[in-house]
């Protein structure tokens, strides 16, 4: 399946909008420069478009299979994985001491978008491997780090995250898997996990599981959980593979999408021989896991973005080719059919798709950049950036996966009946996108994290800081002849959100209202923040467009000349379209903030009064 990227906008985010130079001046990133980072994105894109995209369709049609205890991935996955591993694309942002490349997260976001968009199923293996390795790097003894980290970051061994059990999904406090300490300090594990992505596969000779389990005398609930490293095969002192470690895949799920990704049921220790090693301290498991989950949640947001953008680009290409209907200005039957991209309704949908993709990209790359800033700063400044990262994490995850899914739905609609068939990629994108709303904590749970924890973080400073910045942008652009009306919409959204955030806590049933409206609140935050970021981008794009037109000697007030210039120059068209996307988002996306505030401010509690 061909992967159509939006590298131009990825590069706009990194090179023309974010403050990259501050990062590149820092000791941590001094090895990198703009030219190198540009090549990095180009080469990542090549791999994504090449062997990774090549097996996206076989992944869906043939899928991962399970037969006689063995998981087999679809044809082409092996080659794609080898290319990713050989290129260093498994862990481009990870610690160079352990085989990573130490790239900034804001660059990693672009790389992830390409690989996710080209083949989501394939990219999940990569994501979970580096996630598990990061846990080991952060919390294991030096001995364990030396055994596992480099092998995992370079893709020689795979990894998985084992949290979910049949009776412990959203609430991990009910995990039952047991871990009993042995004389040599290791543990023996017994239990069952379900829904484990890449819990088994045939790409790597060993798979290293990060497993949440309960020690015998631990208290019930989340506070009794500990985190363990459990390899599929034990590892000898010299790093070679030893005995089978009693981790058996008993089946894989049949599911709506991501057919290429094996979702495994794993049985640990059915023969009493499953050895694990503790990470950090006993009973600190969930806390440690949460640190790693932030990165994974953020990446699931990038998944939403990656698929949405790929789906939109495919729909855009289709709309330029498909002839149907007559032109708006000439409806005579004897005139020829026109490409559907000429129809206003199709154009509206296409720009909606594009604007939401750009909004997600702005949100994700800004979050990545905040992570980088947190890496290179200390003290209060570090806390400020880290606060924003924490605040943005659930928003990135849920907002980008939720709206990413909707974009795939709009993209499918662009194809008419053909989009519903398997002849075109639209239906696969739609099916592959949905899961991002569910795993790594459902979007409902993300919203609870936002309203319960993140709003209160640092006495609410990050939210206030952010709304302050957005409000200021609205004011700064208020008098702008092009962006003024959009800035006004941003101002209204900031006001509506601010009002809700002050009014709700003062109400008697504040707790209920917050829980009942957690998802709308997250959506309001997502729209306000990304609307703010998009307007910033539009201001940059507008200036660049004006400079380009001046260069070409085009008088922008002459409509015909402007049209001709936009048709002639892809760069001018790009900047123009960014401005238009921001205008559309401000007028069609941002008003949803005020609309959702209505239920909150009225104190509507109908769902609780309903007898289901």
């Amino acid at each position: 399946m061909k992967y159509l990227d939006d590298a131009r906008d990825v590069k706009f985010n990194l090179f023309e909008w974010l403050d990259l130079d501050t990062l590149l001046k820092a000791e941590r990133y001094k090895e990198f420069d703009r030219e190198t980072l540009n090549s990095v994105l180009d080469e990542a894109l090549k791999v994504a478009r090449g062997s990774v995209a090549a097996c996206n369709e076989s992944g869906d049609r043939i899928g991962a299979t399970f037969d006689a205890g063995k998981v087999t991935l679809a044809p082409g996955f092996d080659k794609a994985y080898q290319d990713l591993a050989a290129g260093g694309w498994i862990a481009p942002t990870a610690n160079p001491d352990f085989g990573g490349m130490g790239l900034p997260e804001s660059v990693g976001t672009g790389i992830s978008e390409f690989i996710m968009g080209a083949n989501t199923s394939m990219s999940l293996t990569v994501l979970l491997s580096r996630g598990a390795a990061h846990l080991i790097e952060s919390f294991a003894t030096d001995e364990l780090k030396a055994i596992y980290c480099e092998k995992m970051y370079t893709g020689q061994w795979g990894g998985s995250m084992c949290l979910t059990e049949p009776s412990a999904g959203s609430d991990l406090g009910d995990i039952k898997t047991k871990a009993v300490k042995q004389e040599d300090g290791s543990y023996l594990l017994v239990g069952e996990k379900i829904f484990i992505t890449s819990g088994d596969q045939d790409l790597t000779p060993n798979i290293v599981h990060a497993v949440l389990a309960r020690t015998p005398d631990a208290p019930t609930g989340a506070k009794g959980l500990s985190l363990f490293v459990v390899p599929k095969f034990r590892v000898n002192a010299d790093g070679s593979l030893g005995a089978f470690n009693d981790v058996v895949c008993s089946n894989i799920e049949h599911k709506l999408g991501i057919h290429g990704s094996p979702t495994c049921s794993l049985v640990f220790g059915s023969n009493g021989a499953c050895q694990g090693f503790l990470l950090g301290k006993e009973r600190a498991g969930l806390l440690l896991m949460f640190q790693m989950m932030n990165a994974a949640r953020y990446e699931v947001g990038v998944q939403g973005l990656g698929i949405a953008s790929a789906a939109h680009q495919a729909a855009l290409a289709y709309a330029k080719e498909r002839l149907q209907g007559r032109s708006m200005t000439n409806r005579e039957p004897q005139t020829g059919q026109v490409p559907i991209i000429e129809h206003p309704d199709v154009r509206r949908s296409l720009l909606m798709q594009s604007a939401y993709c750009q909004a997600m990209r702005a949100l994700a790359s800004y979050t990545g950049w905040c992570m980088d800033m947190a890496h290179i700063t200390e003290g209060e400044e570090h806390d400020r950036w880290q606060g924003l990262v924490e605040l943005f994490t659930p928003i990135c995850k849920a907002w980008c996966s939720g709206w990413g899914f909707r974009v795939t739905e709009w993209a499918l609609q662009t194809y008419g009946g053909y989009g519903y068939t398997c002849e075109y990629p639209a239906e696969q994108y739609l099916r592959d996108a949905q899961i991002a709303c569910i795993y790594e904590g459902t979007n409902g749970i993300q919203a609870l994290d936002l309203v319960g924890r993140k709003f209160r973080l640092q006495e609410g400073k990050p939210v206030k800081h952010l709304l302050g910045l957005a409000g200021k942008t609205a004011q700064d652009l208020a008098a702008d002849p092009v962006l003024g009306p959009s800035a006004m919409q941003l101002g209204s959204a900031v006001k509506a959100l601010g009002a809700v955030l002050t009014e709700i806590p003062a109400k008697d049933n504040a707790m209920l209202l917050t829980l009942l409206n957690a998802v709308p609140l997250l959506d309001m935050m997502g729209h306000t923040v990304s609307g703010y970021l998009l307007l910033q981008q539009a201001a940059v794009a507008k200036t660049k467009l004006a400079a380009l037109l001046k260069d070409k000697g085009v008088d922008a007030s002459d409509k015909a000349a402007l049209r001709a210039a936009l048709k002639d120059s892809a760069e001018a068209a790009f900047y123009n379209n960014k401005v238009q996307a921001a205008v559309l988002f401000a007028h069609r996306g941002l008003p949803l903030v005020g609309a959702q505030a209505v239920a909150l401010r009225a104190g509507e509690v109908a769902p609780m009064e309903t007898v289901f």
Partner: protein, 258 residues
């Protein structure tokens, strides 16, 4: 074995081509520039030979400063050294002049084998490799899809109309590479970072002992034009036998295909 690989910096074939206002040049201001795809086979072949036999791979290009981007890509794939032949006098170099520049540079470099792509996309002249061999007085084998070393000779497979030809050539020689010869590797992240540190040698006309006056194009470009836009398709209607008759008539009279 020391291998010299000629690479060209060319506009991506997906570029929307426009003719510049003077009607003599292409307006490539917004083009995305890449390594000529056929040259990637040449680079890969050089790297494979180096991995098997030792020695060094040097990549060379004739072009402007922006051509360093393509040299860096070849270095990122694993080439050891790079040479940029750049001089205002080289700007309008035709294939003959390009071959002369490359021959002058090759004479200064240790090389047992010279590899190039079968042709450079865009210009599509298919001349530089052959002219280079001629100028250096060494064998030239073009459109190669297979290569094996036998002692001090190469056994080469060539693509010919409807089949393959097997040719033996002694070293040193010039080989032009065709799709199918190998599968070019992707540059790795490590390779990209390492490429940044590798030196690119820049040579001007004077460094190569070339007199700029002799590098003027040997032909004059008169005009460039785009192919006419594709006319709208026709959908025939009516009974099938009538449609077939109509189709035959159109193919004969309008399309002049039969």
């Amino acid at each position: 074995m020391n291998v010299l690989v000629c690479v060209k910096h060319v506009p991506d074939t997906e570029t929307r081509v426009k003719v510049a206002a003077d009607g003599l040049h292409l307006d490539l201001g917004e083009a995305n520039w890449v390594v000529n795809p056929y040259d990637e086979y040449a680079v890969e072949q050089g790297l494979q030979l180096k991995e098997k036999l030792g020695g060094e791979v040097t990549v060379i290009t004739v072009g402007g400063d922006d051509a360093t981007k393509s040299l860096r890509q070849a270095l990122a794939m694993g080439a050891d050294k790079a040479v940029l032949c750049s001089d205002p006098a080289f700007e309008d170099a035709d294939p003959w002049s390009t071959a002369r520049i490359l021959a002058a540079a090759a004479a200064k470099l240790p090389c047992d084998l010279i590899l190039s792509g079968k042709h450079g996309v865009g210009g599509d002249n298919q001349q530089v490799g052959s002219l280079l061999g001629q100028l250096m007085g060494i064998p030239v084998v073009t459109v190669v899809t297979g290569m094996d070393l036998e002692g001090t000779s190469l056994m080469l497979k060539r693509e010919i109309e409807g089949g393959t030809e097997v040719v033996k050539a002694s070293l040193p020689c010039v080989i032009s590479c065709q799709k199918g010869l190998n599968e070019p590797r992707y540059p790795s992240l490590k390779g990209i970072m390492a490429a940044k540190k590798k030196e690119i040698t820049a040579w001007k006309a004077a460094d190569l002992g070339l007199d700029p006056a002799t590098l003027a194009p040997s032909f004059q470009l008169k005009k460039m034009e785009l192919p006419p836009p594709r006319p709208a398709g026709k959908i025939l209607s009516g009974e099938i036998p009538d449609q077939v008759k109509e189709l035959v008539k159109l193919l004969h009279d309008e399309a002049k295909a039969i």
